[in-house]
């Protein structure tokens, strides 16, 4: 009986701390990229490592989440219509931020950014939805076979 199990409370607390640390790290890396790009006008070579690291960590989290069949967008039913609506809203907000930060007033450039951003985000979100559903279906098929 002795020492057959680990103290789950401390294990989960440690995992929570590590998870929080990762989020703080990613946020800090993105903040340093933002400061270097916007306020210091640094060349891309100056902050590319931070950017790639933050992006890589985010992609890793996303891939692991999909691999485990966890719905990144919540457990409720998410229709393609709601996905398009939220993506359009996100694109609109990002477009406004983009215009303010860069100071670009040319409408065609801003609209081009909006189009590219929204389409890329929509494709990404649809791909995430597709792969998550596929993984969940595989898991359900495995359970059905077991039964």
């Amino acid at each position: 009986m002795k020492n057959i199990i680990k103290d789950e409370r401390t294990v989960s607390a440690k995992r929570k701390i590590q998870s929080d640390t990762l989020q703080i790290l990613i946020f800090t890396l993105l903040a340093t990229v933002f400061v270097q790009k916007i306020f210091l006008n640094a060349p891309i070579s100056q902050y590319i490592v931070e950017f790639v690291t933050a992006l890589g960590a985010s992609v890793y989290v996303l891939i692991r989440t999909i691999y485990l069949g966890i719905d990144e967008m919540g457990t409720g039913v998410i229709t393609v219509k709601s996905l398009i609506t939220t993506t359009l809203l996100s694109g609109l907000v990002t477009m406004i931020c983009f215009a303010f930060i860069t100071g670009i007033t040319d409408v065609s450039s801003i609209l081009f950014f909006f189009l590219c951003y929204t389409v890329a985000l929509l494709i990404l979100r649809l791909a995430i939805k597709y792969f998550t559903k596929k993984k969940q279906q595989d898991m359900e098929d495995g359970l059905d076979n077991d039964e």
């Binding site: 009986m1 002795k2 020492n3 057959i4 199990i5 680990k6 103290d7 789950e8 409370r9 401390t10």
Partner: protein, 64 residues
């Protein structure tokens, strides 16, 4: 909600929180938190506690 059943069962076995924690292989704080109702243990841990105290899950963790 405090888990008085677990505390009573532990005292019946003449064990301190530290003794029970050592028997199971967890920390005393976790035992204290479970008894105080501030931590919700997994089924795995509940089973280990029951085995250490010679009780069933119903005896210690079933609320009427």
């Amino acid at each position: 909600m405090k888990n008085k059943k677990m505390k009573i069962a532990r005292l019946e076995c003449d064990m301190s929180q530290t003794d029970l924690a050592e028997a199971i292989g967890i920390t005393r704080q976790t035992i204290g938190l479970i008894e105080a109702g501030n931590y919700n243990p997994t089924l795995n841990l509940c089973t280990a506690i029951c085995k250490a105290l010679g009780k069933t899950l119903n005896d210690l963790f079933w609320e009427e």
